[in-house]
Amino acid sequence: MIEIRWHARGGQGAVTASKILASSAIREGKYAQSAPDYGAERAGAPLRSFNRVSEEPITLHCLVLHPDIVVVVDPTLLKTVPILEGTDENAILVVNTDKSPAQLREYLGVEGRKIYTVNASQIAMEELKKPLMNIPMLGALVKVIEDLVSLESVEEDIKATFGKKITQELLNANLKALDRAYREVKGE
């Protein structure tokens, strides 16, 4: 079982990204959960969302305490919320930042853990013209964790989730943002 914790601000779409991830995994025949930590979901307020993905049925119904992966959607949260809480040396960080993984490691003063970075804000602004970093971060996450879900499943789910609600143009922009982050994410 892989456990993931998302850090974002309300309005950045992290809850949706977390749902798409779970949905894509279930689409692939896996077992998955997506559980937002509701309560502070007002636009701009820091929020968390959780995922569990497994080959076996999941019975846990509680917050993720020891995430295998931490996804930081908003770089301004790096120092304001305890993003490393509950992680061990083997944890993986996927962070939206213009820094390289090495720069970020130094900036955070982190030892151990694998760090991946992607400039999701830039991708979002270029492709979506809005600071919606959720989809790019999902793209990066999919790349980083190979066995989680395939990029194709996520694309399918994005089409199913957004398909009828947004224009084709915006849908394509989302898919492009997903794909760019998938390709542009860098590890140490």
Binding site: I26, S34, A35, I58, H61
Partner: protein
């Protein structure tokens, strides 16, 4: 969620609310009356989409309060319609008066309850205070562990409620946000399967039968009131059998049996936790981990709270090697010994003539997380109790000291 009909069974990523709404769509009730309250609102959003897109024949009444929602459901059910509503926490509290009316009039209304804490302080998150507060209003109460159970329980609820031996309202509870708003795997039945399973309602004493006019809701003086209450007791006792029968029938369709309780590794268990709702899943996970370390622990999940399965619980505990039992309540009974579940489990044991060391555990109020560590802590309390080490009568889990 997709507005579509289900022709083939499939696994879907659904939240508890989506699962409840899908069940509602497949049931295709005649009348649904509801009022928005967090975290139930989504059920009605999804269902309203079905109505707007012509996927159900339902008259959806968007009423001005929960009190009116259940009142309208009473009117509709007395008219012979399949009537349903959905609510949460304070909304259920506002319905309270009419819960007793619905059960007293023996109307088979199904109520989806997204379990939420009661004010004050105001809190929108999951606990069982709402249904526990309404536990003596004569409604059958089922608790769901996850989204799929919510879906399955909603479908079974119709059949249980409408059984002529029962004719009582059924509440189907799921933990607010933890289940209602979390996406999980849900295996859906086809529309045809659900409709065939529930069948068409048999109308009894319909208000619309003007050729055979009936009076519903008469005043019963002290010369007959008690007899009607005794009938309700009988109906609840019948419900105990009917819930089991419907669960068996459902198993034939679904491949998974639903019983009043679910025992998890209790056969040789020395330490047992009794729990309801979503935390049962977490508790099972912890039981597995502790078993790996050689600890003989087990879980009893209570699915049916009303009628309460006294025999099942006493049987399960008697069949185990229990040295002590922890009973976990996600609700308070202020001034009582512990929570409502505690009282019932103790009654089950006492009436069986079995005395075990028992300890009350209160957890998860207002959505407070109950994770692996807390379940382990609960087991620690149970172990202490078994060892004769003094523990407080009630332990509050995950409480800031």
């Amino acid at each position: 969620m997709a507005v579509t009909i289900i022709k083939e069974r499939k696994m879907v990523p659904y939240s508890g609310n989506m699962a409840a709404a899908e069940a509602l769509r497949q049931i295709n009730p005649d009348v649904v009356a509801a009022y928005p309250i967090t975290p139930q609102t989504e059920i009605m959003h999804f269902f309203a989409d079905f109505v707007a897109n012509g996927l159900v024949d339902t008259e959806l009444m968007t009423v001005e309060s929960e009190h009116s929602a259940l009142s309208a459901a009473v009117g509709a059910a007395a008219a012979g319609a399949r009537a349903m509503t959905a609510t949460a926490g304070p909304g259920l509290a506002l319905m309270w008066e009419i819960l007793g009316v619905a059960s007293g009039m023996r109307l088979p209304i199904v109520i989806a309850v997204v379990n939420r804490a009661l004010s004050a302080p105001i809190n929108i998150h999951g606990d069982h205070s709402d249904m526990m507060g309404a536990r003596d209003q004569g409604c059958i109460m089922l608790f769901s562990e996850n989204a799929e159970e919510e879906y399955d329980n909603m479908i079974q609820a119709i059949k249980i409620a409408e059984d002529e031996r029962v004719r009582l309202p059924v509440m189907v509870g799921m933990d607010g946000f933890i289940i209602s708003h979390s996406i999980e795997n849900v295996s859906l039945l086809t529309d045809d399967e659900v409709r065939e399973f529930i069948g068409t309602q048999k109308m009894m004493n319909s208000l619309l039968d003007v050729d055979n006019p009936v009076t519903h809701g008469a005043i019963a003086m002290s010369d007959s009131y008690m007899e009607f209450k005794r009938q309700q007791r009988e109906a609840m006792m019948n419900a105990y059998k009917v819930i089991r029968e419907v669960g068996e029938e459902f198993a034939a369709l679904r491949g998974r049996k639903y019983e009043h309780i679910e025992t998890y590794k209790t056969e040789d268990a020395e330490y047992i936790l009794v729990v309801m709702g979503s935390t049962a899943g977490t508790a099972k996970y912890v039981a597995d981990r502790l078993r790996e370390k050689g600890e003989k622990v087990g879980i009893i999940k209570v699915r049916t709270f009303r009628p309460f399965p006294y025999y099942d619980i006493a049987d399960a505990i008697e069949a185990s090697n229990a040295r002590a039992i922890g009973i976990m309540d996600r609700a308070e009974t202020f001034g009582g010994y512990s929570g409502p579940l505690f009282e019932e489990v103790c009654t089950a044991l006492y009436t069986r003539g079995k005395i075990y060391p028992v300890t009350g555990i209160i957890y998860g109020l207002g959505g407070r997380d109950c994770n692996i560590n807390h379940i382990e802590e609960a087991f620690d309390v149970v172990k202490k109790k078994a060892a004769g080490i003094e523990v407080p009568p009630v332990t509050y889990l995950n409480l800031k000291a």
